[in-house]
């Protein structure tokens, strides 16, 4: 049966399995990805079926994981590496930024870097520090990298395979608190373009733009707003580099209002870029300034405070009200 109901975690697992089956050059690398199947079990069973040469447990060294993946890509492999948690990517940040992102450009196109870096990211699971962060801006700011995040099972399945097929390095952010959300996956469908946005819910009064874990919050906010007679459109950006500004612009030209929602700190975040660009593109359409809802300029708080820190229904609806009040 082509359409299955899967959790995001299972969809990712199926996607990796498909990629391993399809291309012998695809490798999975990371800490605990083998026997354990990853701390979130995204690689569950893959080493058993594809062997230790394809699904590689690595030393606990993130720079080493990414640096050797670069070398393997130079040799013709397509490594898919797992960074165990968002906050652990920084030891590898040097390799990602100074090496992985620039290899294609500095070789004048002679070298391709088909490396996918999977990062379970963002909060909401009651974790300790360094386990709940949203560092997507730090990667989206780097030329040479592509940055995406699925919000549902179908995108999880398809976007990961598209990322693996890409000849560019892709930072693949997985919304860890959505791993267990179920959704329909049509494994025979023709998927949306990896970097295109998608209207997740149509509306006429205002656009909410989000990606990854915040799409669900925005859909819930739209449903709540509907009960108050407000028609809220939700755009799932799906990609943070590049950003589908054409798609977003089309939505904003219809609704004339935009609120961007993400978990990452608002300051200099993806929302800031969207506010600037959409203001340039839609200056004469906008009825209100573009508003942003997101994290504070503070370290991600202890878990007992994360419900206050993370944008929830009320903060999103408050921003909707403020926009509509202009």
């Amino acid at each position: 049966m082509a359409v299955q109901k899967l959790t995001i975690a299972k969809a990712l697992n199926d996607s990796l399995r498909k990629a391993l089956e399809t291309d012998p050059k695809v490798l999975i690398m990371g800490e605990d990805v083998g026997k354990l199947g990853g701390v979130f079990r995204i690689t569950d069973g893959l080493q058993k079926d594809f062997g230790e040469e394809r699904v590689i447990d690595t030393p606990l060294a993130e720079s080493g994981i990414v640096g050797t993946a670069i070398g393997l890509a130079l040799r013709g492999y397509r490594p898919v590496v797992e960074i165990q948690f968002d906050g652990f990517v920084f030891p590898a940040y040097d390799q990602i930024v100074t090496q992985l992102a620039k290899m294609h450009a500095r070789s004048l196109g002679k070298i391709k870097m088909p490396v996918v870096i999977r990062i379970p990211y963002a909060g909401g699971i009651g974790a300790v520090e360094h386990h709940s962060e949203s560092p997507e801006t730090l990667f989206a700011h780097v030329p040479g990298l592509k940055v995406v995040s699925p919000s549902n099972a179908s995108d999880a399945y398809w976007m990961l395979q598209q990322a693996i097929l890409s000849d560019d390095p892709v930072i693949f952010f997985e919304p860890k608190r959505r791993y267990w959300d179920k959704g329909e996956v049509d494994v025979e469908a023709i998927p949306d373009a990896l970097h295109g946005s998608r209207v997740a819910r149509e509306g006429t009064d205002i656009t909410l733009a989000a990606y990854g874990p915040m799409v669900k919050v925005c859909l819930e906010a739209a449903a709540a707003a509907a009960e108050e007679g407000k028609s809220v459109e939700v755009v799932d950006l799906r990609s943070m580099s590049p950003i589908d500004f054409d798609g977003l612009q089309a939505s904003v030209e219809r609704t004339r209002r935009l609120v961007v929602v993400h978990e990452a700190p608002v300051f200099l975040g993806v929302g800031s870029e969207i506010a600037a660009r959409i203001t340039e593109r839609c200056f004469y359409h906008l009825e209100a300034p573009v508003l942003r809802v997101g994290g504070f300029h503070a370290p991600y708080p202890p878990a007992r405070l994360e419900d206050e820190y993370l944008p929830g229904l009320d903060r999103v609806l408050d921003a909707v009200d403020r926009s509509l009040a202009y």
Binding site: S63, G67, I70, L72, L74, G76, Y77, Q95, S107
Partner: protein
């Protein structure tokens, strides 16, 4: 009799498989072997600074390595000499071009010719090289046109050669990063079932980087066919080796479980022998090796620094006496391995190379402005497309104006 008779005798090797020291023993070893900067090191040497061959009978510790150059003929020695002379000439020309404003920067290899030519000539065509930014002699051995090395220093590109044609990766400026690339590449070589090897170059300064330690870890646990070739040229810009390590560098390999060897980096023959030995180990599936080529950077780190601010003239003078080129020349002369005609012809060849380098650099065109937007991504990127179009329109707005 040789001047360095005490220094050259005992090659030092460590092997994680052969020795197992307890914690207390390890502490003792570390303290005992920490060498003051001026101490004469013990290293593998096949050719003394006076140009005399060291025989196995005189030094049984080189027995393991000497056979790896048993096939080297007088013709081969002349070729090695030629490589070193031409590399030095190219390097000198580049330094001069920087002084003339033709290059923005130059990282000279002066003094390190033997380490680079010896190791570079040990390689097979199907081996793969990951250099840092000073491996002009290795590039020469790989057949990379030396003028292609100058583009990045002139500021017209970040590389200038196709790494896959010569199996010589682009220069890497962030120190130590490429040791991981080499390790990953070597992991791939092993997966492919190929019998080629990989060599990663880095310096004593880079040995302090975490990436180098991680490369040692990965290559050891995956038993990857990679040779780590450290040119310990004693200085990381202005930081001496005692700011990088307390224990001789080659001994570090022991802690990772593979052999480390210290070789006289100014002895082209010893560098050739030890690198061949290490590459053979890799090919046989015996995993990584650390080679520490003990040498000296005679010039500045790059043309931007001033070594007179941080090191003593006496030190430099002492190393001048160990010059790798003079050493081989003395040997060739003493053994009638080359006549005056050879040296004269090489001088002509050297002049020709220098002239070509000057001409090519001065004729090197600036890249097209729109190259800024080229190859940022393999599969394209909407933002790059948008900015390219905007900038092109901006530039076009000047055309026909005024």
């Amino acid at each position: 009799m040789t001047v360095e008779s005490t220094a050259a005798r005992k090659p030092r090797r460590s092997s994680g498989t052969k020795r197992a020291a307890g914690a207390a023993g390890a502490r003792k070893t570390a303290a005992a072997t920490a060498q003051p900067h001026d101490a004469e090191p013990q290293l593998v040497q096949l050719l003394t600074p006076e140009g005399e061959r060291v025989e196995v009978a005189d030094n049984p510790d080189i027995a393991e390595f000497a056979p790896f150059v048993a096939d080297i003929t007088t013709d081969d020695l002349r070729d090695l000499y030629r490589d070193m002379v031409l590399t030095r000439r190219f390097d000198g020309e580049a330094t001069a071009l920087q002084r003339q404003g033709e290059l923005g920067l130059w990282a000279s290899l002066l003094g390190q010719e033997a380490a680079q030519i010896g190791s570079g000539r040990a390689l097979r065509d199907d081996d793969y090289v990951f250099p840092t930014y000073r491996e002009h002699g290795v590039a020469w051995c790989r057949g990379v046109d030396p003028t292609n090395l100058l583009g990045m220093f002139r500021g017209v590109n970040h590389g200038g050669w196709d790494p896959k044609i010569n199996n010589f990766h682009l220069y890497t400026i962030v120190i130590g990063s490429q040791t991981l690339h080499a390790t990953g590449y070597a992991m791939g070589v092993a997966k492919d079932g190929a019998d080629s090897a990989v060599i990663a170059y880095f310096g004593d300064g880079a040995s302090s980087q975490g990436d180098v330690a991680e490369a040692f870890t990965f290559s050891a646990v995956y038993n990857s066919p990679v040779v780590f070739f450290c040119q310990n040229n004693q200085w990381a810009i202005s930081e001496p080796t005692e700011r990088q390590m307390r224990v001789p560098l080659y001994q570090r390999a022991q802690g990772f479980g593979f052999p480390g060897v210290r070789v006289d980096g100014n002895d082209v023959l010893a560098c050739l022998a030890v690198t061949r030995w290490a590459l053979e180990r890799a090919r046989r599936g015996e995993g990584p090796t650390l080679v520490e080529a003990f040498t000296y950077r005679m010039g500045a780190h790059t043309t931007s620094d001033d070594p007179t601010k941080y090191r003593r003239d006496e030190e430099t003078a002492a190393w001048e006496a160990k010059d790798p080129i003079l050493r081989l020349k003395a040997h060739l002369l003493a053994t009638d391995g080359a006549d005056e005609a050879f040296f004269e012809q090489l001088e002509v060849e050297s002049e020709t190379l220098g002239k070509r380098v000057r001409e090519v650099v001065r004729a090197m065109p600036d890249p097209d402005t729109m190259a800024i937007f080229e190859n940022v991504y393999a599969d394209g990127h909407a933002l790059v497309d948008e900015e390219r179009a905007q900038f092109a329109a901006y530039l076009a707005s000047f055309e026909g104006g005024e």
